[in-house]
Symmetry: C2
Subunit: 145 residues, 2 copies
C-alpha cells in the first residue's frame, strides 16, 4: 500500500449555512439547525466530525479485536461533544472555538476480560486516525485564489 494516501473533498456553498460536498463520487450535505442560522436539512459540521470519529473507532475496534483474538459483537458507539458557540459568532473569546471535550462510550455484548479490554482500548486510541487528529495538533495550510 502506498505510504501516503490522499483524501479529498470539493465543496460548493449553497447558502451561508449549507454546503454540498463531493468526495470520491459520494455526495454529502452539511447544514445547520435553524437556531444556528441554517435550514436544518442535514447534520451540521461538528456532528460530521463525531460521525467520522464513530466510524473510525468502529474500524479500529474490529481490527484490534481480531489481532487480540476475540470476536466483537454488537458494538455500539455513542459520542457527545461539548462546545461553546460564542467565539464562532463573535460574541466572546472566553472559550475555544471547537469542542472543549468529547466523551466516547462503547458498548458490546462480548464479555471481555478486564486486562484485555484495557489493552484493546489503549490500542484503539493509539491507532485510530480520527482520534489522533482530535487529540494532537495537525498542520494546516490555507490558500485562496
Amino acid at each position: 500500500m502506498s505510504k501516503e494516501l490522499k483524501f479529498s473533498v470539493s465543496s460548493v456553498s449553497e447558502s451561508k449555512a449549507k454546503t454540498r460536498i463531493q468526495t470520491r463520487g459520494f455526495d454529502l450535505t452539511v447544514d445547520e439547525p435553524e437556531v444556528l442560522g441554517g435550514t436544518n436539512e442535514a447534520p451540521n459540521p461538528v456532528e460530521y466530525i463525531l460521525a467520522g470519529y464513530a466510524g473510525c473507532i468502529n474500524v479500529v475496534a474490529h481490527i484490534i479485536a481480531e489481532e487480540l483474538d476475540f470476536y466483537l459483537e454488537n458494538l455500539e458507539i455513542n459520542i457527545d461533544g461539548f462546545l461553546n458557540p460564542n467565539r464562532l459568532f463573535g460574541k466572546s473569546l472566553d472559550d475555544r472555538a471547537g469542542y472543549k471535550h468529547i466523551d466516547v462510550k462503547l458498548e458490546t455484548t462480548t464479555e471481555i476480560d478486564p486486562e484485555l479490554k484495557k489493552q484493546w482500548l489503549s490500542e484503539i486510541s493509539h491507532r485510530c486516525p480520527v482520534n489522533d487528529n482530535l487529540t494532537n495538533a495537525t498542520p494546516i495550510s490555507f490558500s485562496i485564489n
Copy 2:
C-alpha cells in the same frame, strides 16, 4: 444562547468497516473503500472529517464576510488530507495515525482587497470550531460498559 451546546451521535456497527449513525434524527452511513477493507457504500471516516471541516469553513467564512462588510459570492472549498494507514493496520509506527497535514484551498468570484482577505482568513482560522479541533489538542474520555 446556552453557554455550552451538546452534539451527539449514536452508532451501530453494521460490519467491521461500516457504521450506521444517527444524529439529531439524521441517518448517516460511514464505510471504507474495498482496498481499506470495506464495501464502499459511503465515504470513509477521514473523508467525513474533511466534509465537516469544509461545511464549517463555509459557515464561518460567510459570518466573517458579513462582519467585514463584503458579499461572498460562489465560495468553493477544496480540502486534501494526507495520511499513512500503516499505524492503523499495525504495520509500522513510523508515522502518526491521522492526517499528517491538511491543505485547504478557497475560491470565490468576489474580488477582495488583499488586506481584507488576510484579515478574513485569519478570523476564519481562529473562529472555525473544526479548525480549532484539528489544530489544537482536545481532551477525550473513553468508557466502556
